[in-house]
Amino acid sequence: MSDRDTLSKLDKINSVYGMFHDFGGEWTDDTEFLFSAKDNLTSKGFETCAGSRILEGYRPAFDATAIARMKEAGGQLIGKTNMDEFGFGTFSANSAFEVPKNPFDLGRSCGGSSGGSACAAAVLEDHVSLGVSTGGSVCCPASFCGTYGIVPTYGRVSRYGLIDYGNSLDKIGLLSMDPAKLSEYLPVISGKDPKDPTSCVQPELRIEHRRISSVAVPRESVEGISDSVKKAFTDALESLRSMGVDVEYVDMPQLKYAMPAYYVLATSEASTNLARYCGMRYGRQDGDLSLGFDDYFTSFRTEYFGDEAKRRILLGTYTRMEGFRDRYYAKALQVRMGVIDAYKAQFRDHDAVLTPTMPFVSPRFEDISAMSPVENYKADFLTIPPNLAGTPHLNCPCGYDGDGMPIGMQFVTDHWNEDLLLTMAEDWDRQFEVRHAEVKV
């Protein structure tokens, strides 16, 4: 399907997969390629809701820097992709709007929270989509939908125009079936931006085609994963060895503290970031202005925030309260440093740390609705450590289970070493037969 065909069939495609919250556009003389973006990146011409009813009707007057840079390179934004509300989820099921369906099985999740982006990358030919990762929201959906997905170092891509979840954790990345597109567009969206000071400390992104020659596999990462993931991952290690990559099992006991530390930091930051949504300035503003400000703000937040958003606001507010702050927030900041140290220790002897991406293949929607909040959070135990550490990471499809559902592996390299990941994705793609989902349109 050519790009022009894609544009003409977006409506039909979206009616099957539900990847877009808002979409459309015409091919113009300036169009060189099509791209989509997660709906928590502000964009001119499309509604931007971040999966939340509280932002319904918000049509930003500006593009996020990452979107603006893709447009400057000849890209045409064709849609904003569905996601968990504000990024709060692992399956894109915590959305006030449509839940994207897995291209390999419409009864299963695309993963989250950039589920719509992974779906678009898997379904639309030659497509690249902007995703955002806070605790695994690019690599998880990439794994479930069988695409490549890269998350650069924290600060590599400007967060200007990103609707914040956790400021110290949010990173903008890319998803595509074609790893060459990651190499092509990561330099486009990267670079210093005076509008985001955290982007201004980065060294230049150099594409030198350096190769990963050795990987460390934490023993902890292969405990508690499904048999199908374990088999695909073990087979992938053999393939890597045949590519000349040294594989060594190591111990990284610090990783077990990463998940609780992440949830403390992420919800603490989210609970302050979401304080701005109160029925003024953005989205929903249809309240009774004769109310006092406490009642006015409370009425909006009570009516329009979803269940998981409220849960995380409550949790983050609690962990920042006087008397609990040191036990939770301050300790989590220390744990983050310990996890970074653990990675740096491995990078002295290895180019990358390698784990499966997710502990299981994409679950069915009825199984997701039966999961408790803690079970949901635990699903992220492999993607959270690099996100907490701000280290770049990559999902490569590495196998398929008996039902044909994709399985992914996750490479993590040291800060600012995205080049190693981009080379690995292209090398891996040359020797692994990546399956494309049959497009049901």
């Binding site: 007057a61 500006f62 955290t198 530390a261 703000f297 409370t298 409550l314 309260m321 983050r336 907490l388």
Partner: protein, 90 residues
């Protein structure tokens, strides 16, 4: 978590909870905090990781400018004579 604590946290966060929600969130938050207890045994660290990479202040020249027209910014906001409208403070 105790229902009264959840209610106090919800008030601080400007969220009103029904009795059913209080019950459910009390249980959910208790389960989550139980899970967080592993942090107590985590080794401490002399560093504090507010950001995962070192971020230093880089100052730019202060140049007056307005990239986005104010009428466009206010287009979808509830306004009165170009002021953003909000609830009464007193």
């Amino acid at each position: 978590m105790d229902r009264d604590v959840v209610a106090r946290v919800a008030r601080a966060a400007h969220i009103k909870l029904t009795d059913d929600e209080l019950e459910r969130y009390s249980k959910d938050l208790a389960d989550i905090l139980d899970y967080f207890e592993v942090l107590d045994e985590a080794p401490g660290h002399e560093g504090v990781g507010v950001n995962p990479v070192e971020v230093t202040n880089i100052l730019r020249d202060d140049v007056p400018g307005q990239e986005i027209d104010s009428t466009e910014l206010l287009r979808d906001m509830k306004t009165y004579e170009n002021y953003i409208r909000g609830p009464k403070l007193v």
